[in-house]
Structures are given as structure tokens and as C-alpha cells.
């Protein structure tokens, strides 16, 4: 498989160069994704997505074009190369563009990112995992009026990146995720919650844990109330932490956004920007991580990059363009949506270094405050202002959860949030965007009504 992709890539590069490209880069990928969905406590359907396509970046001088197509037919590839070159020709020069990346230094081969069990997971095995999840949720909800939505999703993909400067890399990855989303009705009250796991390895998935945890959480969100508004401490459980840091902070250390003046930390590079309690690294080399890879989306080697150490901003996340522009080392953080886009910048495994204690400990130690289990919000990336609804959360008094919350918002500037981190837990978990434990901030403006 991977040899075929490399072969398609190599041929496309040669053709692009022959047709007039000074440099060219090809991203070729093929993936198979399988999903089974359940609604109202029973399986409903299955889907299989086989996706194979190619994206071609061409460079003429300092002008860049890109085109992709959802097939790998020779005639379609030729059309994409033509489109890519025509777009490059019509573009306005980017004086900061230096070159596509070349292969430098040694690559550290990624470990644990392809799991044979996931690759070969049969539809029956997937269905059994899903049914076990639903059964575990049901068991916890016995006697209640409920409807469980649940799904299992597995994928296996291979990609190859080839460019004119000698990069010829290929890698295969698997991933599996499973969730349970129970809705509960009780009188006039209706609520819902969810739990999920995602991993590259089948063995990491525990359907009973997911099922039971989802049910427990949902039960805990019945009868939500509003609270009196004011300044108070906030505990971010790992999903909430991941929303705030994985989206709200990772985007701010993206070198492209910083270069464009679109990040709230633009003027803070090398300075103390966070509490000394908070340490964050981006590490694409940890075995089995969701963001683990041998090379980034431009074929450049991946690495471990400290972001915040002792409160000080140490590094930004770079791809070849931004590192050339700033004349710094490329951190290997180029990212793209498979073959269908140009490289941007994203985290690999964005990790908050664990500290001490867990969510329960932090609640027990809290005099008066709120817990944010999750939010769907993101800050204004240029001012850092965050106004986040507590999508799932609780009010805490005297070390105990008093009730779940509704219509409640957290207001804080990200720059203050980073400085007000008073405790970081050890209850780390993997989410879709990072690996983080719970953490506590001293205070934020809470509005409820």
C-alpha cells in the first residue's frame, strides 16, 4: 500500500516539475473508516468510507498554488497539477517564502501508532464493543426514562509525502473511538451527558467504563440551577481543561498566528506568561499518542518542544514556512486535513505536565466555586478574552457539589487564566485535542441567570 502511494507521489512530482514547477510537494493518502451507530438504545446503521486522494502544492519562484482531487486516477492527477500550477502563476509573490522543507537530521520512528487489532477489527467485533457500552449505560440507568446514543468509529490510514527536495516519507496509523451519550428524562426535566475514549490501540478502549461513566455523569446533571453571579475559583476537569488550553492556548502559540499579529501572546515571547505551576509541552514522539508521528504534514521530522516551562513561554509551534520566515528551527508542527488542504500549524501531542491531586480532591478543597467539566467555547484569539458557557458543570460549596449548573458563563482573559492556575492535578486523560489533568484557577467572573 505505502509503496503504491510513494510511487503515485514520485510520478506526480516529476510531472509537476516537467510542467513548470520549480518545487513541488505531493500528499497522497488512502484511508478506510468504519462506523456503527446506535440510537435509542439499539444499533441503527453502519458505514464504510474508503477515501483516497491527492493534493499537490506547486511553487514557481515565490508563488504557490495548490489543488486536490478525491481520486487517484492519472487524468485527475494531471488536471490537479495543471490547476495547481495555474494558481501559482496567478498568485502574488510571498517574499517570506524560502523553500519547501528538505530532509534534515535523523527521524525518530514513531512507535505504537499502527495497531493490527484496530486495522483488522471486524464489523461483528465492533458491534459487540458498542453493545457492551450501551449495556453498561443501561445498567446504571435502570428504572429511569432514557435514550442512549452511541457509536464506535475505527479508521486505518496510510499517507505519503514526496517533494522535490528529496523528502519521501510514508506512514500508517490506526485510531479507534467509542462514546455513549445518554439522554435522561425525569418529569419536566431532561438532561444528557457523554463519555468517550479515543486511542490508536484497541486495548485502551474500555466499553464498560465509557458506558457507566456516561450514565453517572448524566444522572448528575439532572435538576440544574443558576447561581448568584460573582468572582470565584474554577476547577477545569480534563475535558474543560482541554477545551480551554487545547483550543484556546494551542492556537495562540501557533507561529503563523503570532507572525500575523493574530495571537494574544504576540508581545509575550520569552516572557513569563503563566503560573509556575503550569508546564506544557508539545511532544510528537511519545509512544502511541494520537498526535505521534515520525514526520509532520510536510514530511519534516517530529520532535518534543517545550512550550511553557516555569511559567515562561519557551517556544512557538512552527512549520517550514514560519520557521524560515523567523529564521528559527522548524518544530515539525505542519498539519493538514489529509490531502485536501495546504499545511497549516497544529499541535502533535499537547501535554500538560501532571502535578498532584485529582478532580475529587480539588472539589473537596474548594470553599465556594464552580466546576467546568466541559465547554464548547473558544477565546477571542487576538485579545485573549474568553467568555465560556459551562456546558456541563457544578456549583461547589464547603468541599461538596451542591447542584449542576445551567445558563452559566465563565469570563476571563486567557492571559489571566494562565497566570491564575493554582493547582494542576495528576488525573490526566487523552482527549481529541490534548493530554491534560484537571486544573484550578484562583478566580474568574461567573455570570449566571
Amino acid at each position: 500500500m505505502n509503496e503504491i502511494l510513494l510511487d503515485i507521489g514520485t510520478k506526480a512530482i516529476k510531472l509537476a516539475e516537467k510542467m513548470g514547477a520549480d518545487q513541488a510537494e505531493v500528499y497522497v493518502a488512502k484511508s478506510r473508516a468504519y462506523e456503527i451507530e446506535a440510537e435509542n438504545n439499539a444499533i441503527k446503521g453502519a458505514s464504510e468510507q474508503i477515501d483516497a486522494g491527492i493534493g499537490i502544492r506547486t511553487v514557481i519562484g515565490k508563488k504557490i498554488g495548490f489543488a486536490y482531487v478525491t481520486t487517484q486516477d492519472t487524468s485527475d492527477i494531471e488536471e490537479a497539477i495543471t490547476d495547481s500550477l495555474n494558481l501559482a502563476k496567478a498568485s502574488f509573490e510571498d517574499p517570506d517564502f524560502v523553500t519547501l522543507p528538505s530532509s534534515v537530521g535523523s527521524y525518530q520512528k514513531a512507535k505504537g501508532i499502527f495497531n493490527k487489532e484496530v486495522d483488522e477489527l471486524s464489523s461483528d467485533e465492533a458491534a459487540i464493543l458498542l453493545i457492551r457500552t450501551i449495556d453498561a449505560t443501561k445498567e446504571k440507568l435502570e428504572g429511569k426514562d432514557y435514550a442512549i446514543e452511541s457509536a464506535i468509529h475505527s479508521s486505518s490510514s496510510s499517507s505519503a509525502i514526496v517533494n522535490s527536495l528529496g523528502i519521501e516519507m510514508t506512514e500508517s496509523k490506526t485510531s479507534i473511538s467509542l462514546y455513549s451519550y445518554p439522554v435522561i428524562k425525569e418529569g419536566e426535566d431532561q438532561t444528557a451527558s457523554y463519555e468517550y475514549q479515543i486511542s490508536r490501540n484497541l486495548n485502551d478502549i474500555n466499553p464498560e467504563h465509557i458506558g457507566m461513566k456516561a450514565a453517572e455523569l448524566a444522572l448528575g446533571f439532572l435538576r440544574p440551577k443558576i447561581i448568584e453571579s460573582g468572582e470565584m475559583p474554577v476547577i477545569f476537569a480534563p475535558l474543560g481543561a482541554s477545551a480551554v488550553l487545547g483550543r484556546g492556548f494551542a492556537g495562540a502559540v501557533n507561529a503563523e498566528e503570532v507572525q500575523m499579529g493574530r495571537s494574544y501572546i504576540t508581545d509575550a515571547f520569552g516572557e513569563s506568561i503563566a503560573s509556575e505551576t503550569l508546564e506544557i509541552i508539545d511532544d510528537g514522539t511519545i509512544p502511541g499518542g494520537l498526535g505521534t508521528r515520525t514526520f509532520d504534514a510536510e514530511g519534516y521530522r517530529t520532535q518534543r518542544t517545550p512550550i511553557i516551562e516555569s511559567g515562561v513561554l519557551k517556544n512557538l509551534l512552527h512549520n517550514s514556512y514560519t520557521s524560515n520566515k523567523d529564521r528559527v528551527d522548524n518544530t515539525g508542527n505542519a498539519a493538514r486535513p489529509s490531502y485536501s488542504g495546504l499545511p497549516s500549524i497544529s499541535t502533535s501531542n499537547f501535554i500538560v505536565t501532571p502535578g498532584k491531586g485529582n478532580l475529587d480532591d480539588f472539589i473537596a478543597e474548594m470553599d465556594k466555586g464552580v466546576v467546568c467539566r466541559n465547554t464548547g467555547d473558544r477565546p477571542n484569539m487576538i485579545t485573549g478574552e474568553l467568555s465560556a458557557m459551562i456546558l456541563e458543570g457544578y456549583y461547589v460549596e464547603n468541599g461538596e457539589i451542591q447542584h449542576p449548573l445551567k445558563n452559566t458563563l465563565i469570563g476571563i482573559n486567557m492571559k489571566d487564566l494562565l497566570k491564575r492556575v493554582s493547582q494542576v492535578g495528576s488525573d490526566s486523560r487523552t482527549t481529541f485535542s490534548m493530554i491534560t489533568p484537571s486544573f484550578v484557577i484562583e478566580s474568574a467572573n461567573i455570570t449566571s441567570g
Binding site: 441503527k44 504557490i64 495548490f66 488536471e79 464489523s123 500575523m260 458563563l409 455570570t447 441567570g449
Partner: protein
């Protein structure tokens, strides 16, 4: 394309499916992005392939293929039917798929097809609006200007006898400048999105979008963060559209009924708001980004009256939901592309105008806040919780517009919010958007008149 679709459908039926459908798509897109006068993204794409579904007794299966040969379609048709058959025994709810059938060949006519316009001309347009922003004021720190066009040819057929060919053409123009004054930095976003060809770019709004966005971002330099608390909120048409979309539209998508995942489940035919409130979702409007003649299941679309005089009257249906709930299909099933199965979705969603004069509405608001435009919004229909964020607004004191504020978030509950709408104005405007659901984005519009909601929590810093 008819032969290819027939090959897949016949193979699926032969393998044991009771219903099968096919979407064959050929879409081309262009995206041109210029920042600070420099090309940042010059991109073309072609999406070419087929999505095939098979169904038997309540069990669905979906697969996609880019092998657009009769043999490729047969193979996928057969394998998707086998997937549905394997799922059948595990399904709890048995039901059948039925619905009206349609045959049509619809060519969407535009004045200036995208392919008739050179890349150079499109590039010049983006450069022109990028320059507008850059030249507007010396406090403009950086600019981002994006043009996108998408032309779709779609053929839809199913085993009931529907076979429909449709075309669509939607352009988009975005200006997103940032401004800087000392350490004070602000950003904004303006977009134009209608249905049509390149002629949409000839409008005054499109030709001046760089100036308009720059003017707003400079004004934002004098804005402050809002103080949190409960306010009487006057929404502008754009934000009203977001509220209507997030706080009601999603909860009215009929796939929430079989899954019991909307707080509106028991409210059909009942009062959900004041008698002067009506909400419409209308994909038949001329020249709108959320408009389409047939949905992605080949059902002819029609105007849907979701709320009529405060009563919840209609849901957004796919063939499945209409069959299961024994209601009339109304053509709301949409997919992002052939790679996904269709889901019930909104189109152009809006609150119907009433009789308040906008100025009088603001004068009538003693202490409140006027909220305009939006950054984003989301909702969890099973819980009824939603939030959305206005991009900016103005404090209203004693009926007068005062201090500008920015990024104002508003949280609420679907069942509580509509009854708090106490005044609806007579103006009307729709704004372009993209709506995400189940990982699929589809073009939509949302809007309405200015309207006031009383005593809602607004987040502060």
C-alpha cells in the same frame, strides 16, 4: 450518470436491500486568500464520487466510492447492502422507507459561471478588497481576504423511482482585518454569501466589503469588554438569525425524535413562544445561499413553517424521519458531499418580522444592550442548552445607544428563551453562514428582524 446509479441500486436490491439510494457528485471549488497583499492560499479542488445507501427493516448502511464505473458502482451497491443485512438483526425499531418520487433535470442558471472567469480576475478582486482594508486607516495591522466559489453537479436516484439532477453555484467573499493601537488589538470578520454566479461579486456590498470590515475593526478599537449580568437584549437581524438557528432550528430537526434527543419532543402542536412569534425555514427563496430545489435525497423542497403564531407546527424532515413519524417529507435532508449520508438540516432560517420600528424598539429599552453580528454559536438539543456570541454591540442607557462592547456571549435554555422575546421589529435581513452537524458543514443563511429578549444572562470578563 443514470446508468451508474441504476447499477448500484439494482445490485443493492438484488443483495437483499428493501431501499437504496445514490448520490453522484462532481463539485469544483476555488479558494483564493490574500493577507497583507500576499497570496496565502490559492487552491482548487475537485470532488468526484458517489455515496450509496442501503436499507432493510430499520437498518441503514452507507458507503462511498470514487470508482465511477458500472462495475465499481455494482460492487459498492452490493457491499453496502450486505452491511445493512448484517445490521438488520441487531436493530430494535423496524420501519420502512417511503415517500413521494421526483424526476427532474434542473439546470441552475447564472449570469457569470465561475469557470468563465479567469483566475487572474478572481485574484484581482481579492487583492482589491484586501487593499481596501489596508488603505483604510494606518491602524489596520493586518488583513485577510478570501474568495471562494463552489459549483456542484449532483445526481440523486433511489429505488422508489426518484431520479433528479441538480446544480448549485455559491460564491463567498470574506474580509477579516485586524487593527492595532498601542497594545490594543482587535479583529473582525465580514462575509458576503449569496447563491449565484460570479455576478454576486458585482454587488456594492461585495465591492466594498474591505472598507466595511476595516471601518468596523477600527470602531472596535474603542470597544470595551461587556460587564456580565442579566440584560434586556436587542438583537440585530444577524444575531437574531443565530439565536433562531441555535436556540430553535436545531432542536426542530426531526432526527431528534427517534433518538429522543430534543427538549421539543413533546411540544409539536403546542405553544413554544408568544403568539406574535413565527419562525420559518425556507430553501425556496431566490438567490439565497441556503436555497436548493431538491434535497440530497431527491425530495422537492418547500417552505417550512416551524413556528406559527407561537405554536410549534413543523419539523425538518428526511425520508426516514417523515416515514417514521408519519409526516410529510419537506426536503430537508442535506449532505456536505457524496462522502456523507444526508441528515435533516436547516436552509434559510429566520424569525418573521412584526410591527416594531427599530428606533422605537431601542428607545423603548431603558437599560439594555444592542447586540450585533456574531462570532459563533452552538447548542445541545437534548439538554436544551445553547450559547452564541455577538461580535459587538452597544450599551443602551435610557433608550440611547452608548458605549461599544465586543464579544458578548449569551447563554440560555431552548424552552425558556422564546417566551422571553417581547418585541419584534419590521425590518429584515439574512446573513450567510455555514452550519455544522455530525461533522458535516452545509451552506445556510439565518436572519430576521431586530428583536428584543428580556432578562437574559450575558457573560462578562
Amino acid at each position: 450518470m443514470e446508468d451508474l446509479a441504476t447499477a448500484a441500486i439494482e445490485a443493492a436490491l438484488k443483495a437483499g436491500a428493501s431501499f437504496a439510494d445514490v448520490r453522484i457528485e462532481n463539485t469544483t471549488t476555488t479558494i483564493i486568500e490574500i493577507s497583507d497583499g500576499i497570496s496565502k492560499r490559492s487552491m482548487a479542488s475537485r470532488l468526484k464520487g458517489a455515496g450509496i445507501r442501503a436499507f432493510i427493516e430499520g437498518a441503514w448502511a452507507f458507503a462511498q466510492t470514487t470508482n465511477l464505473t458500472a462495475a465499481g458502482m455494482r460492487t459498492t451497491g452490493e457491499s453496502v447492502a450486505k452491511m445493512a443485512l448484517a445490521t438488520r438483526e441487531k436493530v430494535a425499531d423496524k420501519f420502512e422507507i417511503d415517500g413521494p418520487t421526483f424526476q427532474d433535470h434542473f439546470k441552475y442558471k447564472v449570469k457569470k459561471p465561475f469557470r468563465s472567469i479567469s483566475i487572474d480576475e478572481k485574484m484581482s478582486l481579492v487583492k482589491m478588497i484586501d487593499d481596501q482594508s489596508r488603505d483604510f486607516d494606518k491602524r489596520i495591522a493586518s488583513t485577510r481576504s478570501v474568495y471562494g466559489d463552489m459549483h456542484t453537479e449532483l445526481y440523486i436516484a433511489n429505488s422508489l423511482g426518484t431520479n433528479v439532477y441538480v446544480e448549485n453555484s455559491i460564491p463567498r467573499l470574506i474580509s477579516a482585518p485586524t487593527a492595532k493601537d498601542g497594545t490594543n488589538r482587535q479583529r473582525t470578520f465580514k462575509s458576503i454569501g449569496n447563491r449565484g454566479g460570479y455576478e454576486v461579486m458585482d454587488s456594492d456590498a461585495a465591492q466594498n466589503i474591505g472598507n466595511d470590515a476595516a471601518e468596523l475593526v477600527i470602531e472596535l478599537l474603542s470597544s470595551v469588554a461587556a460587564k456580565g449580568g442579566s440584560y434586556d437584549v436587542v438583537m440585530d437581524p444577524i444575531l437574531n438569525g443565530v439565536m433562531t438557528h441555535e436556540a430553535f432550528g436545531h432542536a426542530a430537526e426531526a432526527d431528534n425524535w427517534p433518538s429522543h434527543s430534543t427538549v421539543l419532543e413533546d411540544k409539536v402542536g403546542k405553544e413554544v413562544g408568544p403568539e406574535y412569534l413565527s419562525i420559518t425555514d425556507d430553501p425556496t427563496m431566490d438567490g439565497k445561499r441556503g436555497s436548493f430545489e431538491y434535497d440530497w435525497e431527491g425530495t422537492k423542497t418547500k417552505k417550512r413553517t416551524l413556528v406559527k403564531d407561537g405554536i410549534f407546527t413543523e419539523l425538518l424532515h428526511s425520508l426516514e424521519t417523515a416515514s417514521r413519524l408519519d409526516m410529510e417529507p419537506n426536503g430537508a435532508a442535506r449532505s456536505q458531499s457524496f462522502m456523507s449520508a444526508p441528515l435533516p438540516r436547516m436552509s434559510n432560517t429566520f424569525m418573521e418580522p412584526r410591527d416594531w420600528d427599530v428606533d422605537e424598539l431601542i428607545q423603548d429599552t431603558k437599560n439594555g444592550i444592542l447586540l450585533c453580528s456574531y462570532n459563533y454559536g452552538y447548542t445541545q438539543t437534548a439538554k436544551g442548552q445553547f450559547m452564541f456570541q455577538a461580535s459587538h454591540g452597544y450599551i443602551i442607557e435610557n433608550g440611547e445607544k452608548g458605549q461599544m462592547v465586543r464579544d458578548v456571549s449569551l447563554a440560555g435554555n431552548i424552552l425558556e428563551i422564546l417566551s422571553k422575546v417581547d418585541a419584534i421589529a419590521k425590518d429584515f435581513e439574512l446573513d450567510a453562514g455555514s452550519c455544522g452537524k455530525g461533522g458535516q458543514a452545509v451552506p445556510t443563511m439565518a436572519g430576521g428582524p431586530h428583536a428584543r429578549i428580556i432578562d437574559v444572562p450575558v457573560g462578562g470578563m
